[in-house]
Amino acid sequence: MGPLLIMKNVVKRFPGILALNKVNFDLFEGEVHALLGENGAGKTTLMNILYGLYRMDEGEIFYRGEKVKIHSPSQALTLGIGMVQQHFTLVPSFTVAENIMLSTRRFEKNVSDVIDRIRKISKEYELRIDPNARIWQMSVGERQRVEILKLLYMNAKVVILDEPTAVLTPQETRALFRAIRLMIENGAGVIFISHKLKEVMEISDRVTVLKNGEVAGTLKRGEYDEKKLARMMVGRNVVFQIEKKPANPGREVLRVEDVRALNDKGFTALNGINLEVREGEILGVAGVAGNGQRELAEVITGLREVSSGRIIFYGKDITREDVSKRISLGISYIPQDRKEIATCPNLSIAENLFLKSKERTFWFDKRKILDTVKTLIEKYSIITPDPLQPVKLLSGGNIQKVVVAREFELHPRLIIAEHPTRGLDVASMEFVYRSLLEARDRGVAILLLAGDLDEIFTLSDRVVVIYEGRIVGEVEPDPSNLEKIGLMMAGVVDV
């Protein structure tokens, strides 16, 4: 029997990047096929295409041997393809049964029939849920169960689960895996998206590894082990080499002591993290995105409150200081989201260059600022016809230069750089790297929270690995340690 589903040579372009490059993927009945890859590798994009949320630019999809065009999620559901997205799509004030009826898009005269069927399915798959409970009263794990029930209720044959374990406790994860096994026993195919190696090892029959929008390989159970998958996932492609003098570390600048903090959803993001950075060194923090990197940066800059622990800056406890105080102490922050957080899109380049300042003056002298701005634009080679142009009209690389210029001109003693080259072309990337290294050589302490390992290896003097809000180990930034880091990043601690 042929595969239930085939995706052939799928290409998807987003402005400026090739998100998927001729990706092939298939799924048989009764198997769990895992999609593994770092954040930004294209896993979710590929599945969003299958679920009708995105259109592909090139490629074909075959379902049960027939070529199909999927334009919308409701069409995908009619075919029997369902997806549990990372953000749930439930109406909070409705009950479970009402939500399920809503998604079937059929008017059910007899609600008790629906409820009976939900009870039956929930029993069959051991997904305990009360059909009359309201969504807003439920935990995230329960909501996910409702989403899965919804798909089962609609007889989905292809069930896509996008990072389903990210929000679950270990017990809930076990229950989910039990349900997945029951689903494949009943002939469904499950696509399991994850970046956690352990889980992928446990549940999958086959694994496809995506890297930078391309398939790095598809392996059957037995053909792979954790090490092999880790290597495929983080395999290194050298963009360019940059000259780096040996580090000359001085006094301790930052010490993070047993810090715990919650993320925006109220879950534990930092779970007792410890690290220290010294003058004149770059500490790289490696990790899959979403393991507490952002929260770590926010806790140090004062944007997020800690629930416990201390943050020490040059021997002084700054845990309770506010953001502006920390800026004046010399903590600079280059956030990952340059458009969302680091700049004001409608304000001019000049104004964005002066968003932050160490001392708050009363007057805001535009003419004086404009003079300084002109020298900055030259110094950091920001390409713009007019410094009074809104910053949103600049390219990503130039916006990043504005951010870098501003943060560097504050003459910081500590720079927190969070994925500072995301989405930049090679020239801008090199510029950012050089700027960071120059700052280091001047004696600035740098905490680098990078997305990919290339960056970590190019820049760092020391590397620590973060996993689920904790530092799980320290590694020499040596290419021979690549595999070890990959495993640690994926949650395999005992290496």
Partner: protein, 357 residues
């Protein structure tokens, strides 16, 4: 084949800030003309209404001093709203803040400083009204900053509280015992009045209003604080990231906004009404919203816009008298102006092109 393509403009042309308000005023005047034509059945009536509206309010012997009198509270409320609108805080409570300012000033003039003969009386009374308006602005500001309570709802409801509070006082404890049972207070003693210029009816409030334009302009454009407000308005996350205390700024901006509306109420009491009476404001606080938008949040522009709107109000009163056109038509007209302003703000961001397929 040809296809009509609607696409977003990359850059907004420089003349748009002037063109859009003019465009929306024109549209609403046309709609008003059509309405008059339709209700009276005569096209000439519409033309006459236009003539009346554009002449009477601006001729010195006729309505000009009235226009200037009305311009003052409009300018002040509009200015106050300019401050908060720049941060994208939608204070629609200027009316209530104005009422509270008027109320506090009345209390000062009739009771607190009744027998206090001093040149300081007028300034003190003005400050009293300003503080009361500020207080009425701080309440929703605090609620917004600390509880994230929607300021639109809060300010709107506070308008009603202020309005009925004033009504209670003028129908009850503050009612003029010699007022033939009308809902108004006694006349303020003359030493509390704002001096007028000759017999024009134009009082010193106009200079206070102009002074406020300068102050607001400097505050918004020349100080770090004004810059911070702009940052908060454009991207609140960036503001927090840059170490700007958003909570404090929200409260402070709401306070200033309320203070200016309160000052408008105080000036109206001391310069024009000289007593608190039912319906003393034809919706200055609400019209202030339109003033702020038509001025495109530029303090200098509020001078011109509130002058025009003062004229609009005076002209419409005139229409009411000579042509028996109901005042509600003018209120509708004001609504249409704001409406078409908001619509053209969005529409003009796009352009239409006909392209060959």
């Amino acid at each position: 084949m040809y296809k009509i393509k609607v696409e977003k403009r990359l850059e907004i042309p420089r003349y748009f800030p002037v063109l859009i308000p003019l465009f929306s005023i024109t549209i609403s005047l046309i709609l008003m003309g059509i309405t008059i034509w339709a209700t009276t059945g005569k096209f000439s009536n519409a033309l006459e209404a236009y003539k009346e509206m554009f002449s009477w309010p601006f001729i010195p012997e006729c309505g000009l001093s009235d226009t200037i009198q009305k311009m003052i509270p409009l300018m002040l409320t509009g200015l106050g709203l300019t401050i908060v609108f720049r941060m994208r805080i939608w204070n629609i409570g200027a009316e209530g803040q104005l009422y509270l300012g008027a109320m506090a000033t009345t209390w000062g003039a009739l009771f607190f400083l009744k027998d206090f003969q001093s040149p300081l009386v007028v300034p003190i009374l003005l400050i009293l009204g300003t503080l009361a308006g500020a207080f009425w602005g701080v309440i929703p500001g605090v609620l917004k900053a600390f509880l994230n309570l929607d300021e639109i709802v809060a300010t709107l409801m506070l308008n009603y509280i202020a309005y009925y509070w004033v009504n209670y006082l003028i129908y009850g404890p503050w009612k003029d015992p010699h007022g033939y049972n009308f809902p108004l207070t006694a006349m303020f003693p003359e030493h509390t009045w704002l001096p007028s210029m000759g017999d024009t009816g134009i009082h010193l409030g106009i200079f206070i209003a102009f002074g406020m334009v300068v102050i607001v302009y400097i505050l918004m454009n020349k100080t770090r604080w004004g810059f911070d407000l702009k940052v908060i308005g454009d991207n609140e996350k960036a503001a927090k990231y840059a170490g700007i205390n958003t909570k404090k700024n929200i409260i402070f901006a709401m306070m200033l906004s309320g203070a200016l509306a309160g000052l408008a109420g105080a000036i109206q009491m001391l310069g024009v009404q000289h007593r608190l009476q039912h319906g003393f404001s034809p919706g200055y606080g609400y019209t202030g919203i339109i003033i702020a938008w038509l001025s495109r949040l530029n303090p200098w522009a509020t001078i011109l816009v509130s002058f025009l709107f003062g004229g609009l109000i005076v002209g419409s009163e005139q229409l009411q008298i000579i042509m028996r056109i109901p005042i509600s038509l003018i209120n509708a007209l004001q609504g249409i102006i704001l409406f078409s302003l908001l619509a053209s703000e969005t529409i003009f961001r796009y352009r239409i092109r006909i392209v060959k397929r």
